[in-house]
């Protein structure tokens, strides 16, 4: 089956290509990328004037919750949320029940995803058994089963010695270690950013330092071990500064930022809005600005959603008792378009790289290019489309978004996986 994508603006950071080209897809691959391709017989044409046509977006930080927490999300619903949000692939965090700390859970996720998933799913294995931070998981087994990275996300590896050994050992398999940077002694039961707002609301604060202390530690360990360190969801201006110093010193490290840490501040918590309770917490405007500049300066390579769905009744409680996390797959693109691209703080090329070629390179998975011959994983975005966020329309089981009712621009118009259109105009077709 042939598909012709006509009239869009191609943004392909790997080929350093930006401009009006048509894309011809044949048999799941990009067959041609040229100006004004004439549709032949039997070619399905989608006209996307004014739209951005990019290599398929990969969200490298997603909680699919399966196995074990299917009341929050499943592989079937989470991957449909991904498709709706313009993503062709997601990397699934291992904090499921049981934890994905062994080959059988990784295999289960891969098989389930192959059967029920709408997009590609790359499982991430746990760094330590049960993500308890005590003993290394069987990392060779995880790698052979298909884990693309290691992480104890949701918790830090508090023991620096274990983290050192994880970086060394994972390095043998070229697996990145994705660090959730939080010093649990400093975060000490905190539930939001520490500052004036936490003082007024009477909520326990998580200081920026709780993250920065661990970022500094992990950067030192990365330098020591030559391991492949990736910093998950960094949230503070101080972390950005540490990252910059580390890169200047030549330490091998990559980092990601979430759309919510880029765009939203701790003010969202006012009124005890549990949908704004995330870890790391939403910080200040100053932090948002520093993160945005770091992304535009290509110091931070990746945008990842940290999509963290929860059931309504779990969030509909006292702020202290609500779990951390917000859904992000279905609002990630318009949030970044609205807050960063439209105001001119980030170029499309940078955003597309942060969502496609960079995560593909870090995870060592295919993707990130529309060059003829590559797999036809394509994300199409309509930058002009303006719509209010409506959580009731989410494909995710999780409706825990603080963005309900907010007007955003730049919604995904189509998601194409392996040459097959799986989402069109917000409607998931698989």
């Amino acid at each position: 089956m042939k598909l012709l994508i006509k009239g869009g603006r191609i943004v392909d950071p790997l080929q350093n290509l930006e401009g009006e080209y048509d894309v011809l897809v044949d048999d799941g691959k990009v067959a041609a990328l040229e100006r004004n391709i004439k549709p032949g017989a039997g070619v399905e044409v989608i006209d996307v004037p004014g739209c951005i046509v990019a290599p398929g977006f990969i969200d490298m930080h997603v909680h699919l919750r399966e196995p074990g927490l299917e009341h929050k999300e499943t592989i079937a619903t989470g991957t449909r949320a991904a498709a709706a949000g313009g993503f062709v692939a997601v990397a699934a965090m291992p904090n499921t029940e049981p934890v994905a700390d062994n080959a059988s859970v990784i295999t289960y996720i891969k098989e389930k995803a192959a059967r029920e998933g709408a997009v590609r799913v790359y499982p991430i294995g746990a760094i330590t058994k049960g993500s308890k931070g005590e003993e290394l998981s069987e990392i060779a087994d995880l790698a052979e089963a298909g884990a693309v990275a290691l992480s104890d996300d949701g918790r830090p590896v508090m023991n620096a010695e274990i983290m050192r050994r994880a970086l060394e050992y994972a390095g043998m398999f070229n697996l990145p270690v994705i660090a959730h940077c939080e010093d649990l002694n400093l975060s000490a039961g905190g539930v939001m950013n520490e500052g004036f707002i936490s003082t007024i609301l009477g909520l326990r604060g998580i200081p920026a330092g709780a993250e920065e202390v661990m970022v500094a530690r992990d950067l030192i360990l990365a330098a020591m071990t030559k391991g492949k360190l990736h910093l998950a969801h960094i949230s503070t201006a101080g972390s950005v500064q540490l990252l910059q110093q580390a890169k200047e010193r030549g330490i091998k490290v990559t980092a990601e930022v979430t759309p919510h840490h880029l765009c939203l501040t701790e003010e969202e918590v006012v009124g005890y809005n549990t949908n704004a309770k995330v870890n790391p917490p939403l910080r200040t405007r100053r932090d948002c600005d520093a993160l945005g500049s770091a992304l535009a300066g290509e110091l931070i390579e990746v945008i990842a959603s940290d999509h963290a769905p929860h059931a309504a009744e779990e969030k509909d409680v006292e702020f202290d008792f609500a779990p951390f996390g917000m859904v992000g797959l279905e609002t990630a693109v318009p949030l970044v378009v609205t807050f960063l691209i439209r105001p001119g703080l980030l170029t499309w090329k940078q955003a597309v790289a942060a969502w496609s070629s960079n995560p593909a390179r870090i995870l060592n998975v295919p993707g990130g290019s529309l060059a003829p011959g590559s797999t036809a994983d394509i994300t199409i975005i309509n930058p002009a489309e303006e719509r209010e966020v409506d959580v009731r329309r989410f494909y995710s089981l999780g409706k825990n978004s603080p963005l309900q009712g907010r007007k955003l621009y730049g919604w995904p118009a189509a998601t194409i996986v392996g040459g097959r259109i799986i989402m069109r105009e917000g409607e998931v077709l698989v």
């Binding site: 520490e194 007024i200 609301l201 009477g202 909520l203 604060g205 009744e313 409680v317 006292e318 008792f321």
Partner: protein, 312 residues
């Protein structure tokens, strides 16, 4: 004039005029309390529930007395647990109470914001009896009533709040209320017990008691909880006492007639010496009486539906 909101969640939400109205109404209520028959039928037929997720005798008793003196019926629910894993959610409890037709719910909860959830869920008036480290508005209002009764007003007064400011909802409510009415508020305590950026609330921060107490009109002494020491927030009760206990010598640094307030229950010999607690400047017992009057005023203004004249 009446209150704008159906609820009393905190002094952050009140205007200076509203605070004035509450304090004036409380004065009338205090007069009722001094009568032979301490009861008026202003809230006859109304139902007030106290819903306490944290132990408290004084605040709850005070609210119950206040409701009864106004002729309302009271029911008290004490819920030992603060765990959501077991038992009913706060919202479901709220809906149950609403279905029983309550007019006002007084809630105390260890989680900041719990009264706000309740207020959003039900039509009845919600009175915050203390939520986490957030606010304890009725305590601050009774402190302010006591100050106003003794000193006539707030403008230009210097008020020192002494102790564990970080964990104190009493401190936060007092800061909101006192600064709105023109008092100068000083907070004093160890650096480890100061909330971040508290100075942005318009208060002066001190770490030396001697400096903070100089020339003040009021000293509000906060209770120090022993578990804070175990959390590593200060080295020992002995050292805390040595640095921050309100002693007769420290009291002398304040104005001669300065008032000593304490929200209770007191740790004698820790944050306050017995001599000061029982001394002439101590208003501790009067605070308790005033607490009933202030809570009567609030119930009356929130669910009495009338003007002050209806009291007679």
């Amino acid at each position: 004039m009446s209150l704008r909101s159906k609820d009393l969640l905190g002094l952050q939400d009140l205007t200076a005029e509203e605070i004035g109205l509450i304090l004036d109404t409380a004065a009338s209520m205090k007069e009722v309390l001094q009568r032979e028959i301490k009861k008026v039928p202003a809230l006859r037929g109304k139902l007030v529930v106290t819903l306490f997720y944290e132990p408290s005798t004084r605040t709850r008793t005070s609210f119950e007395l206040a409701a009864k003196c106004l002729g309302a019926d009271t029911v008290s629910i004490a819920t030992a647990t603060s765990s959501v894993a077991k038992g009913e959610s706060l919202k479901d409890t709220a809906r149950t109470l609403a279905a029983m037709g309550v007019d006002a719910v007084v809630i105390r909860h260890s989680a900041a914001g719990a009264p706000a959830i309740l207020a959003r869920t039900i039509k009845a008036s919600v009175l915050n009896g203390g939520d986490g480290m957030h606010e304890h508005p009725t305590q601050a209002l009774l402190d302010m009533f006591t100050i106003k009764e003794k000193l006539g007003g707030f403008r230009g007064l210097k008020v020192a709040i002494l102790g564990d400011i970080l964990h104190s909802r009493v401190a936060r409510s007092n800061i909101w209320g006192l600064t709105k009415l023109g008092a100068e508020v000083r907070v004093v305590g160890p650096a480890t017990l100061m909330p971040p950026e508290i100075e942005r609330l318009g208060v002066k921060v001190y770490h030396r008691a001697e400096e903070a107490l100089e020339d003040v009109d009021v000293i509000n002494v906060l209770r120090i909880q022993r578990e804070r020491q175990k959390m590593g927030l200060f080295p020992s009760l002995r050292e805390y006492t040595r640095l921050y206990q309100l002693t007769p010598a420290r009291l002398k640094l304040a104005k001669p007639e300065a008032l000593v307030l304490h929200p209770g229950p007191m740790n004698r010999g820790i944050e306050i010496s017995s001599e000061v607690a029982d001394g002439l400047q101590s208003c501790v017992n009067e605070q308790v009486t005033n607490g009933v009057a202030v809570r009567m005023a609030l119930l009356y203004l929130l669910i009495g539906g009338g003007s002050r004249e209806a009291l007679d």
